[in-house]
Amino acid sequence: MDKLAEYLQIPFVQHALIAGVLIALCSSLLGVTLVLKRFSFIGDGLSHVAFGIMAIAAVLRLSNDMLLVMPLTILCAVLLLRTGQNTKIKGDAAIAMISVGALAFGYLLMNIFSTSGNLSGDVCSTLFGSTSILTISKKEVLVCIILSIVVVVSFILFYNKIFAVTFDEGFARASGVKAGLYNLIIAVITAVIIVLAMNLVGSLLISALIIFPALSAMRLFKSFKSVTICSAVLSLICALVGILISILTGTPVGSTIVATDAAGFLICWIVGEGLGAKK
């Protein structure tokens, strides 16, 4: 415990905690919608795309790769959600195609043009999230805070519309709701969250951050509002616990958080079954 208190005094640990908790909060918000719209894999696909774009940014030696990664990922999110509707290649196949394609190209580019001596280390840290969350700079924390506020505020403002479009897109469309526009907004927010979360858990583990809290909350609660709130709270707690454990034991941050999320799901599942059996 003393050790923990001592660590908490250190600025970069504080930064990591703030950033981690905010990212976890944002990523859990849209989880419910993505799971229910059968878009769980979009997170995964987009993060691979972001990985590919990051590789391009690295090759181009961009000092601030966010400027390239963010807009391109948003573009891909929009394209992916579009293809989900009515095209020849079905939604899941399109996602699988684009995501593995981007992953392969990203790794290829890094291999050919890399100047760094520790290539596999670089790749590994982009994929699984390194300890880089602990080396996060003050400026990055600021970006993280601003984007989180944007995500949370737009989620609250569009909450009722997101619900309507998720529950029954046909009805929403028929009664004159601009369902296409709101799907677009969902896509953009998802892309922003994914680029944010790449810093924390790396691109392979992002979907865990998006779907675990939502699935856990769905075991326990039955209205959309309570599920959303519960998944946000769960995600916060799991991220906090995960980061603290990883600091204390020296395990990789990303996988520790995901493991905590998985444990959270297990607990919720057991509790949910218990409650269900009582009825």
């Binding site: 403002l157 009722n160 529950f167 929403a172 028929a174 609660f221």
Partner: protein, 237 residues
Amino acid sequence: MSLITVKNLSVGYEGKAVEEDISFEVGKGDYLCIVGENGSGKSTLMKTLLNLVESISGEILFGDGLKKNEIGYLPQQTQVQRDFPASVTEIVMSGFQARCGWRPFYTKEEKQEALAHMERLAILPLKDRCYRELSGGQQQRVLLARALCATQKLILLDEPVSGLDPKVTIEMYELIRELNKSGTTVIMITHDIEAALRYASHILHFGNRIFFGTREEYMESDEGSFFLQRMEVRKNG
């Protein structure tokens, strides 16, 4: 002036017509039943009326001050809804979305109105229950309440009784009749020609040829008398 006038309409997907040359009119307070075999284009016609599918040719005219977003819709249930965590109130309220525009939240008046619709359809006691735990008939009532939140002028129902047991089916039909009597125009797709003959004021039949007319005209037509005879045989035999 009719609420909806359809002239020589062809409906279908991607340019391929499922049914051609449909013409009919729906006046205020009418109860139109669309009957016909599977795949005859009933649902496609409804989706075209709702602007979910583009028409291939022909015209749909909205009259009598009816706006495009003043149509309530009771769709067939989708797969997503079976495991969706949502309370009854949340779903009913989402019917107001169209009139919200950019406004992010619902008003107090809208909340009252939603409660009133739930009361009318006898689902008020269920308002905090989870949608997926309700029975089929209750779920249909919830969706009907949502349609009423969207509008009370005109509702389109796509097979509202499919999968319901006989008793609940009759309750559902009575409910729709009451709505119609209190001034809501109803357009309903159904397989159930007996029900169509009992409740509808007008009938649109898709078969070898398209029939449109009042119920009385339908009973005298070739299509209608064919079914009437069969019903007679069943009753007497």
